[in-house]
Symmetry: C2
Subunit: 474 residues, 2 copies
């Protein structure tokens, strides 16, 4: 039987520790190609963990290519697994792991809205492609890439957007940069810091901070059930609006077409108005077809489209991009092309191969499946619990978080505090508000992110959370 | 004999083409471990190139680990060369190579001040380390790194600065970011865009552009023979001065201690004044010991130190860093730590291993040797030519460019134009001026960068240049 040491107090989930242990056995040759792994039941009993932990680990390793499954028989070591040889080294320094990350003590569960699932990134593929680039494209790597990014990468991004988002943009309009944060700052320089930027309230704090830090004036616009309120916007004095129509952060609202058209109308009403469309999470829609982007609805030069590979690949890869309307792309070319692209040539060239080889598509399919399962589990856990009938789930059609409206006899901070006592971290909706919503107007809101949590953690986290909230039942 | 196809009209220097060809033969097995390569004379005659081209290629390949030399016998294939297997692929897309780079038509020689020598970057080492990281540090790669960068990398940079620059800074003061350009923009946010920034005139255009683009007001301060003129600075209304004391760009002046102390005095005279010390090229000093940095001379909280790995490794790696004085580091922590670090976790972790393994040190020794030879060749070519006695060489102690003061009967633009006719690109000093220097005050200045040129190109470029200038001899 496998002798894998698990550390229940480690911040790493048990199923990840189990994955790591199995991979180490493969690398050491203890597990040989085509060898059958112990049954879930046997290994769970042996290691004193739940069967679901073992199941999750096996599925994860199968997704990563270390194991293959024979239906109704079990899991076997893939003959290529040794080549992948992803052996987490003992030399790994815990202090090199970022402290401010969503890791929590083992008994603590954090429904964090940042981060992605740790097991999903295709390291072996990325390593292979990156090696190919270092071997064969040394010329590409010798110079800083053009300001907008490598041309073939921009072509590949354009093709990706055409195929998956029905967005038609020329590579000349695409600007690659070290993440949405950097791009947003650059955009302020490009369209001018003397403008007033409208943002959604509640909304993405960091976006506001970046705009302000770059010298722009920012006004928070209240939301109604369709999204940013156009009447407020009209009278706000803003000439730019920063919105997240695919999956509003944090309410999860998917902006309906009528509101998209209203916003575009607003932009068309005055020359030199812009909409910044942050399309994060648009790849992770679970129900129905994605709505047309603001960018593709725009008939003028009004929409700047932004997206990132941080959510779909890994946040440590700082690669985002934006589509500039032709007029702005020309302005950038003229006045800002002195800037070097902030993404390294190696990672641009690796991403290019990742896109061209169809790896992103496959990876998206895989993570969508994983996240759909977790979301379904989360929803079922919410519905099954006696507290469930006092909860209203909003914004669960897409993305990696949802919003709970809680119809219990308590305040939002009481809900957050009760969760905390039960070792569960959740955020109240009012944390995302610039100006507090009028008192008593709305039911308390709790934002739940689920990307970083294993099925096991979702299950026990929701149980603990709703058990804790039971005290507020009428 | 080797059958290598050379393309004299390709923008790639002949010696690089030759390197590529030899590596391909090694990869194909035509050249086997320990096999002796043809003598320089024989291969030069066979390929119809100069012996110096062959010599340069052999030296380059020896530096990269493909060949080893036996003194007075010749060059042999290193047994590990096949493993390096750096075969430039035929699939390389020429359009993916940035068009605005210092590549020129084959008959054109560009004494460019940007870019570094294409053959120097240790691709095989970088690939090896990056593979190790992808294999063993997946946890590091799953999250965006802390705002300041990976802590162990900042420790390694601190150790490097202590050992090689006698700079003592805590890792907590070091901020890693996607290149000096990005860091400079961030710095404007950190110390405030409402300030006036003093810059050197002549100076680094891009620096000025970035400061202005981030909303700062910029004033260009004339230089005297020691550097930025402190009397002008005193009356400029500036509260920040951006300087390049190790090797002023473009004059090449190394700022003497007395001027460094004067600038620090200026900063100390008023609260909240800062000096930004851009220490690019400080690693590439060819004569004497480096002077103490402004940072290490400062007794207060006045100096922000910046440097980059773009010059010492490759510009396509967008990794720079700055040391913030403790007070500013605290302000960053408090008000700006919402920013994610703009360098990918993979490249940070790879650079960490590169530093810890002593590879940077070895690499610096290697490139210093190469660049010292090129610089010596450049100087000797200048001195040997009849026009040489009308030239005054400035700023050649350090860095990858120098300044020629030309005492001939002509204007600067006539010199640039004559060079252009002879298919040589050089820049006039006045191109780097914000406000033109008073007419007739100085002799024409020509800036010569040599990092990207092979010895052969330096030789023929200088000959063509000075032949062309002969028309202005008295």
């Amino acid at each position: 039987m496998l002798t894998i040491l698990l550390h229940p107090t480690s911040p790493e989930p048990l199923y990840r520790q189990l994955c790591t242990g199995i991979v180490a056995e493969i690398a050491a040759g203890t597990l040989t190609p085509h060898e059958k792994l112990p049954s879930r039941r046997a290994l769970a009993a042996h290691l004193q963990v739940s069967m679901i932990t073992v199941q999750t680990a096996y599925e994860q390793l199968a997704a990563e290519g270390y194991l293959y499954a024979k239906p109704r028989i079990g899991y076997f070591v893939d003959p290529d697994a040794v080549l992948l040889a992803c052996v987490p080294s003992a030399a790994f320094q815990p202090e090199s792991s970022p402290s401010a990350q969503p890791c929590q003590p083992a008994d603590h569960i954090h429904f964090s809205t940042s981060g992605v699932d740790s097991g999903q990134f295709p390291f072996a593929t990325w390593a292979k492609l990156s090696r190919q680039v270092l071997r064969t494209e040394q010329q590409t790597l010798l110079y800083a890439t053009p300001s907008l990014g490598l041309y073939p990468l921009r072509q590949a991004i354009a093709a990706h957007l055409r195929a998956f988002r029905n967005i038609h943009a020329a590579p000349e309009q695409i600007l690659v940069g070290a993440g949405t944060e950097y791009l947003l700052g650059l955009l302020v320089q490009l369209i001018g810091a003397s403008r007033r930027f409208a943002v959604e309230d509640p909304g993405f704090h960091k976006g506001k901070q970046i705009l302000r830090s770059n010298g722009a004036s920012v006004i928070a616009i209240p939301m109604d059930e369709d999204g940013l309120d156009p009447t407020y916007l009209q009278h706000s004095g803003a000439s730019v609006a920063y919105v997240t129509p695919s999956h509003q952060f944090p309410t999860g609202i998917v902006m309906p077409i009528r509101r998209r058209l209203r916003l575009i109308q607003w932009a068309e009403n005055q020359p030199d108005r812009y909409l910044i469309e942050d399309d994060y999470d648009s790849e992770l829609r679970f129900q129905g077809n994605p709505l047309p982007s603001l960018y593709s609805l725009d008939r003028g030069d009004h929409v700047i489209y932004m997206n990132t590979f941080a959510r779909t690949l890994t946040p440590s890869l700082r690669i985002g991009y934006m589509i500039l309307p032709p007029k702005l792309a020309m302005r950038f070319e003229q006045d800002f092309s002195f800037y070097s692209c902030t993404v390294s040539g190696l990672e641009q060239a690796t991403l290019l191969r990742f896109l061209e080889g169809g790896y992103l598509e496959r990876h998206l399919n895989r993570i969508k499946k994983t996240y759909r399962q977790r979301r379904a589990l989360l929803l079922s856990q919410l519905h099954m619990h006696p507290v469930g009938r006092y909860l209203e789930v909003c914004g669960a059609q897409a993305g990696l978080h949802l919003l709970l409206r809680v119809h219990l006899n308590c305040t939002e901070s009481q809900l957050v505090e009760a969760a905390h006592v039960a070792h569960v971290t959740v955020c109240g909706l009012s944390d995302y508000h610039e100006s507090p919503p009028p008192a008593g107007q709305d039911f308390p809101g709790i934002v739940l992110g689920f990307a970083c949590l294993s099925p096991e953690e979702i299950q026990s986290g929701i149980k603990r959370l709703l058990d804790a909230w039971s005290q507020f039942l009428p």
